[in-house]
Structure formats: structure tokens, C-alpha cells
Amino acid sequence: MARTMAEKVWEEHVVRRADGEPDLLYIDLHLVHEVTSPQAFEGLRLAGRSVRRPDLTIATEDHNVPTADLLAPIADPVSRKQVETLRKNCSDFGVRLHPMGDIDQGVVHVVGPQLGLTQPGMTVVCGDSHTSTHGAFGALAFGIGTSQVEHVLATQTLPMQPFRTMAVTVNGTLQPGVSAKDIILAVIAKIGTGGGQGYVIEYRGEAIEALSMEARMTVCNMSIEAGARAGMIAPDQTTFDYVQGRPHAPRGAEFDAAVEHWKSLRTDEGAEFDAEVVLDADELSPFVTWGTNPGQGVPLDAEVPDPASYEDPSARAAAEKALKYMDLRAGTPMREVRVDTVFLGSCTNGRIEDLRTAAEIIRGRRVADGVRMLVVPGSMRVKEQANEEGLGQVFLDAGAEWREAGCSMCLGMNPDQLKPGERSASTSNRNFEGRQGRGGRTHLVSPQVAAATAVRGTLSSPADLDAQ
């Protein structure tokens, strides 16, 4: 029978299947960070259990760590204790850790692919919803809770409920200035924050195939914002070229054997998806959010929508509530929305290509008066590479802050936060109330829009700069 890629990868990992029970799936790679793991390790200790496969586990410090002044001890004692707890847990249980200051430290979803640990056909889990990022390689990658983190540590498996499959096909070609971020924001606006619930999404079509590996990660990263369990893209030559030569990639004959297998993972001709969504890349333009969930987005050329235009009473109420929180008035052109902060970074858009794109736009220009721009590389390797390419200097010359690696203002857990009433254009993934700091207001944007907005001070595309 013709099968989808997700079904193939799932089948390859079934350890046990029994009537009336969820399938028990084997986990190839478990990524660990400081925030969702302490209670899991404590659970192991209390039960006298060990980590079954420390050699399939890797940890880093990202959510909670400061991105300035690496050498100083973490000022917040509660944050410090959490980071120290991870260090002790990794040491006690024999788990490899990349701590602050290490060249391989960074946002967990940037670190895995960079090391070549994320490969096609694998099952990847992490106590973080953006684990869907790794699906860009044709891996089946799920975000999990702390109880499941403990379960994977103890057994290297997870009992998983069956899923449904959804194809999101993006035909055509992206116009200049339009990026992977705009694709995924448009997908979420189309299907809604609950549209993907219960589904593993496979992104396909010529616009997806044309994307670089890093851009594919941006798309898969935000699958969770559409409510999906995971997002995947079929591995192809772009994928193989990206993996080859990385520290943990197979070498020589093993690489060739792996590629042969990876090619077999593609969805079979004639395989049926439970749902299908189609978009035309030619029609996409830079996308921005106006509300407090990632589905509340419009093209940058559009205006803040009128809640009265929603037929569904629940959507209307949500829009009214969002506009009140965001302090926006219906009918205001999105381009007139003024920001005081620009955040470039996160597991969505903190990789080297994102920094290159933004630096190219900002080169020789200045961040607008009254605007603070924070550039936070996704990992210390990304930072090193950016510095080698002179990008760090471009940001500094423009008046931006060039920080150390971490999740930073994406979730406002470390000191990088918006103050009440502040407004950001952010390349991150969530515009929830207070997400970037209590009372802060977030507009989700692409790196292109972030850079142009930093220069103009209002939500802008690079084309607006050229017009000046």
C-alpha cells in the first residue's frame, strides 16, 4: 500500500504494537535543556532509574541563560539554580552537555542540525514544542512534556497515539523579499492555530523544494503554531548536502548507504493524506501578525482587520480582545505601526542565513532613533561564523546589540524582555500576550521585515527602504 513519509518513519520505529495500546516508538535522538528536564531527572532519582541511552541524548543551556556578559555568574538566583541543576544532572547521569561559553552551546534546535545529529528518517524528541524544526530533514520530531522527557530518559521509547496526515502544498515561486517565514505565517493564518491538531504536516511543492535547509527549518519550526504534532519535508539533495561532512554525519560507504535509505522515505506516489491544503507562493507577500496568536496575521500591505468582519463569534471576540491588548485600531495600515524593539533570533530565525539576510538589508544603514535592535545568534557557532563573515560588525555599526546565543526575547525568560506597553517586530514564533515580557506586544515577522523595520521604525519591507 502506498504510504506517506510520516507513516514510513513511524513504522520503522515501532518497538511494540498490541491491541488496545498505543504504539511504543523508539526514539533516535533526545535533546535536553534546562527548563523542562529538572523534574524528569528528579523522577529518575526517586525511582532509582538510570538514563537508558546517554549516547542518544544531548543537552544544552538555552531558554534561561543571559545573552550578555557570559563570564559573570547568572544574576537571577532561581535561573542560576536551574542551570546548575542541569549541569549536575548531566554529570550524574552521563549526558553530554554544551554549557554557556561552549562553542556548541545554543538554542537546542539550532545545535542538533548543526552538529549533524539530526538526520532524515530519525525520531527526535525534546521537551520543547519547537522540536518540529527537525522535521525539515524528513525526521519525525515531536515536542514533549516533562513526564515524557522522563519516559524517554528511562526507556528511550514513547507510547504514542496514532496521528493523521496533512499535505500542505506550496506551488510556484517566492517573490524577492518573501521568505520561508512568510510561507508558514500564511499557512497558519489560513488553517488557524487549531487547524493542524492531530496531524503530522508534510510540506511539499516546488516552492518548498526550492528552499534551503535552513529555510525549511523555519517552516517546520512553526508547525506547532498551526497546532500540528509535527511538520516534515522530504529529504532530497539539499538535505544530503547539508548533512554531509557534519561532525556526526555518516562517512564514506555508510553515508552512501544512508542516502539510499533516506531516498526511500519519500511519500509514495498515490499515498493518501487525510487533509490537503494548497498555497501559491507567487501570491505571497511579506506577512506580519497583528494579534495575540500566530494565526492572527495579514500581509504587510494590509490593514489591521475589523473584528466585525469575522462571522464566527468566538473569532470575533478573540480579535476584539487581541486589538485591545495590542492597542491597535481596526483599519490602521500595518505599515504605520511603530515599534520600539526589533528582535532577530530564535529557533525560527536565528541561523546564519537569517543573519546574512538581515545584515545585507541593514548594511550601511542605521537602526532608527528610539528603536532597540537585539540580534541574538542561534548558537555560538552561528555567532563565530557571522563574525568571520563580518556580519556582527554590520549589526554593531548599524547600532544594534550583538548578543551571545540563547532563546532570549523569544520567550522572555531571561533578562531580555519587553517592558509593559513596548512593541516589537520579532522573528520568533509566538505573539501571545506577555510572551516577550509582561505587557509586551509582539508582531511576528521575517528577518527581512525585521531588518527593514529596524531602519524605518515602522513595520516595513526591504522594498520600502529602496523607495526612500
Binding site: V15, G20, E21, P22, L24, Y26, D28, L29, V35, P38, Q39, E42, P54, D55, L56, T57, I58, H63, V78, S79, Q82, T85, G94, R96, Q119, M122, G127, D128, T131, G143, I144, G145, T146, S147, A154, T155, Q156, T157, P159, T193, G194, I224, G227, R229, H248, A249, P250, F255, H261, S314, A315, A318, L411, G412, M413, R430, F432, G434, R435, R438
Partner: protein, 196 residues
């Protein structure tokens, strides 16, 4: 894990859709390394900034059933959202749609999340708002929710129901199959990466 069979308690009507886990518990409350004490973070911002927020109203004090709008628990995978609800005193959450990861976390941790049609949620909201002393019963044995004027069955797979009724720990159940896990491991492709 505490067993769940039948629970009866007063209910809180949370008339909002898309209540994400950043609202259930903001990130700044996730720094603790323990599994309890998260009740202060539950809906922290709404409790602080809105005196009319439903949990600030005295008539709902001590309620143990949360009746929420659609798409409850979207966003982050933080299980702290489940712990915060439990630490605060909630035993069960009713909604017409839950985000997947939140739902998974809740059922692992013994917080019973119950899927009901929105029309039934609306009726429970109306009943509870008309009389906050209204009691709602969530009966896992018969897979049924009961409130004045409401008797509605709900779906939950047999395996999860059994695990909750018995209060069983998933890890212990899986460890019964260690031999099968070991056998599977011998079949893994040699090119798959290791971290050590």
C-alpha cells in the same frame, strides 16, 4: 499518579478561546526545579491585572473543574501548565478542543481533560454563571459529564482511561517491555548518530 474515577466539584467558566500555555503559566514561573508550588503562576497576568478575571471572583473560590473555550493549551510544551492547574486545585478541564501536547501532558499527569461539543460547554457555562454553586460531575468510569440539565458522554481511549483509573505510571508499564526494546536496538542502522 493519583487515581481518577469520579470527580464532583464546582466549576469555573473561562470564556476565552486560544488560551495558550504562556497565559496558563508565564515563562518567568518556569525556573523552579520542583514539581509543585506552581499555583502562584497560574493565569498570573490575568489574575494580577484584571480584578474581574474569573479566578478573582469569590464565588468561584475552591472550584475544581475548569470549563474552558476552544483550543485550550496551545503553544509551548511546558508541563508546568498542567502542574499549575493541579497545584491550584483543578482536577479536570472541559473544552471543545485541546492542543495536542497539553492534552498529552494532562493525561500523563492525571489531570483529566474532557472533550465535549461546544454546545455542551455553552450550556455548562450558562448553568455555572447562573448559579456558581452548581456542581459538575466528571465520571471517568462511565465516560460521562453531568450537571443540571446536562448528561453527556465523552470519548477517551480505553488504554488512557484504564491508566488513569488505576493511577498507573507509564514508565513502569513500558519497563515491562525492556526485552523488546533491547531487541529493537540490535536492528538499528549503523549510520545512525550517537552523541558520545
Amino acid at each position: 499518579m493519583e487515581k481518577f474515577d469520579v470527580h464532583t466539584g464546582r466549576a469555573v467558566p473561562l470564556r476565552a478561546s486560544n488560551v495558550d500555555t504562556d497565559q496558563i503559566i508565564p515563562a518567568v514561573y518556569l525556573k523552579r526545579v520542583s514539581r509543585n508550588g506552581f499555583e502562584d503562576g497560574l493565569f498570573a497576568e490575568w489574575r494580577k491585572s484584571d480584578p474581574d478575571f474569573v479566578l478573582n471572583r469569590p464565588e468561584y473560590e475552591g472550584a475544581s473543574v475548569l470549563v474552558a473555550g476552544p483550543d485550550f493549551g496551545t503553544g509551548s510544551s511546558r508541563e508546568h501548565a498542567v502542574w499549575a492547574l493541579q497545584n491550584y486545585g483543578f482536577k479536570t478541564v472541559l473544552s471543545s478542543r485541546f492542543a495536542d501536547i497539553f492534552r498529552g501532558n494532562s493525561l500523563k499527569g492525571g489531570l483529566l481533560t474532557v472533550l465535549l461539543p461546544q454546545e455542551v460547554i455553552d450550556r455548562i457555562w450558562d448553568a455555572v454563571e447562573a448559579d456558581p454553586a452548581t456542581e459538575v460531575t466528571v465520571d471517568l468510569v462511565n465516560r460521562e459529564v453531568r450537571a443540571p440539565g446536562v448528561q453527556e458522554s465523552f470519548e477517551l481511549d480505553d488504554y488512557t482511561r484504564w491508566r488513569l483509573l488505576e493511577g498507573l505510571d507509564d514508565i513502569a508499564l513500558t519497563l515491562r517491555h525492556t526485552d523488546e526494546i533491547g531487541a529493537f536496538e540490535t536492528t538499528r542502522e549503523p549510520w545512525k548518530p550517537v552523541t558520545l
